[in-house]
Amino acid sequence: MAASVSDASLLAVADLEVRYGPVAALRGVSLEVGAGEMVAVVGPNGAGKSSLMLAIAGAVPAQAGRIAFRGASIRGASLEDIVRRGIALVPEGRHIFGSLTVEENLRLGITVRADRRAGEADLEAALRTFPILGERRRQPAGRLSGGEQQQLAIARALLGRPALLLLDEPSLGLAPAIIDQVYGLLGTIRAQGVAILVVEQNAARALAAADRTYVLNAGLVRLAGTRAELIGNPAFDAAYFGVAMSGGAAAP
């Protein structure tokens, strides 16, 4: 059941603007993620999805708007602080440290844990939960396949015990069977109470998995709704594939 959108949301983004010099990536985006929810943001290439994730995580500055996590404003906070508050980003392309071993990659995930011993225990648990990672714990992470790297990136992010997991294009470059695995994993994570905000070009998959979905196009939210509201909705295609520069408020 979708959490109601209210002030009690875990993450609340309002009128967010992100510009890179003269180029506007986000032109006033608002969205919310409730505790334990899985929310998807879909849209074509260049819609601003990555900018959204990077802005929430604190990796790029936002020029205007609000980002609130658990009620407190985090816009302008540093990356290191934001991840300590409970938001973990798995960026596009996964970015595991290829020259470090699998185990070392995971160990970096517990950097933010106050209780290091508990973190180490969780690390061992993760190596059991993800058998492939456990098998290859001492191998350089660069040797893993795409799907395995995705597992590693997610496992690593989870070791920080985030309340909100941000995933930028987790299915990129992966075979359909592997994508199934990844989304299965996301389901399990969600069942454990971690909220998930996932950004995808692969709209169908995200739409099916998420409680609610926002359609982003050319820096603005064009359409938003629950799974039931959006699947089969003709407005969806228009929002997703719509002409870029029409500017204007989100469609109903």
């Binding site: 990077l54 995580a57 990796a59 540093s78 990356l79 290191e80 991840v83 300590r84 973990a88 980003l89 960026p91 392309g93 970015h95 440290f97 290829g98 020259s99 470090l100 070392e104 160990r107 970096l108 995930g109 950097t111 933010v112 660069g142 690593r156 992010a157 920080g160």
Partner: protein, 294 residues
């Protein structure tokens, strides 16, 4: 056989010194993509520190000079390089050039540009015989110090938490931060370590040359820098190997070149650098993720 062994010792000793210098430069480049020309000034500062503290007991003088190097390194990071974090490499290059010259000229201003003699660990100049080889004690100490420091640094990077954070930051700084690694701390540690390495190099260098000038580290740094470039910017192994190779090459060229070409050996070394850059611009042991950014 003995002559060959002699050359080998010379080569390894000089190579080791340059490897240590190159490591100091490579460490910083790894985490910040900054080529710290001012690393030479750290070495020079230690030298003058030894002079300043020459009245004190030896361990005190050495510890004090070491502290000077570390503090100066941290200061230069805080004042000059932190504001430029994330700037493009050309700007960083010019900035480190400027810092280097500023420190050099300020030093010349305060202590004078003329050479000063210093008597540091004169006993190291004495010969020592090991396994039938007659070498300078200093050479032995240099080789041992280089080996020990290299091993210690490797251990630090491979086995400690800070070392892990540094390696991660060197491969992909932004991603490391996204996992909570504190950028300021990692960089500060890198600079502090480079200060320690600079101090070691200074001790060895000053013991050998016995003189101090504001520009004494110039040649050392230029060669080490070149070695780092050849070895592969961003890779610590590359820096050490590159520094060693260039140092070794200068010794080998000295031996191998016909006498009238010997003075040109540095030119050959630099020509080699250009060649390497043309063939493999990222160096012989390129660092993984030199281009990667989130």
């Amino acid at each position: 056989m003995n002559a060959f062994a002699q050359y080998a010792v010379d080569t390894v000793s000089v190579g080791g010194l340059y490897a240590l210098t190159a490591l100091g430069i490579g460490l910083i480049f790894g985490v910040m993509r900054l080529i710290n020309f001012a690393h030479g000034e750290l070495i020079t500062a230690v030298g003058y520190g030894l002079l300043l503290l020459s009245g004190a007991a030896l361990p005190v003088a050495m510890a004090g000079s070491l502290a000077i190097a570390v503090l100066l390194a941290l200061a230069m990071e805080r004042v000059a390089f932190r504001p430029l974090r994330g700037a493009d490499p050309e700007t960083l290059l010019i900035a480190s050039f400027a810092v280097s010259f500023f420190l050099q000229k300020t030093l010349a201003l305060t202590v004078g540009a003329r050479a000063k003699g210093i008597d540091f660990l004169p006993r190291l100049g004495e010969p020592i015989t090991i396994l039938g080889l007659r070498l300078q004690t200093l050479q032995l100490v240099t080789i041992l110090t280089s080996a020990v420091l290299l091993a210690a640094l490797s251990w630090f990077l491979a086995r400690t938490r800070w070392g892990l954070e540094m390696r991660a930051a060197a491969e992909n700084f932004q991603m490391a931060r996204l996992l909570g690694v504190r950028a300021n701390r990692v960089i500060a540690v890198a600079f502090a370590l480079s200060g320690v390495l600079a101090a070691a190099v200074a001790f060895l260098f000053v013991a050998q040359s016995g003189t101090l000038t504001p520009r004494m580290s110039l040649e050392l740094v230029v060669i080490a820098f070149v070695g780092t470039a050849i070895g592969g910017l961003g890779s610590l192994v590359g820096a050490a190997v590159g520094g060693f190779l260039v140092g070794a090459a200068s010794v080998i060229l000295q031996t191998v070149l016909p006498p009238d070409l010997r003075a040109f050996r540095e030119a050959f070394a630099f020509a080699l650098v250009i060649l390497v850059l043309l063939v493999r611009p990222q160096g012989l042991f390129p660092a993984r993720g030199l281009k990667e950014r989130v």
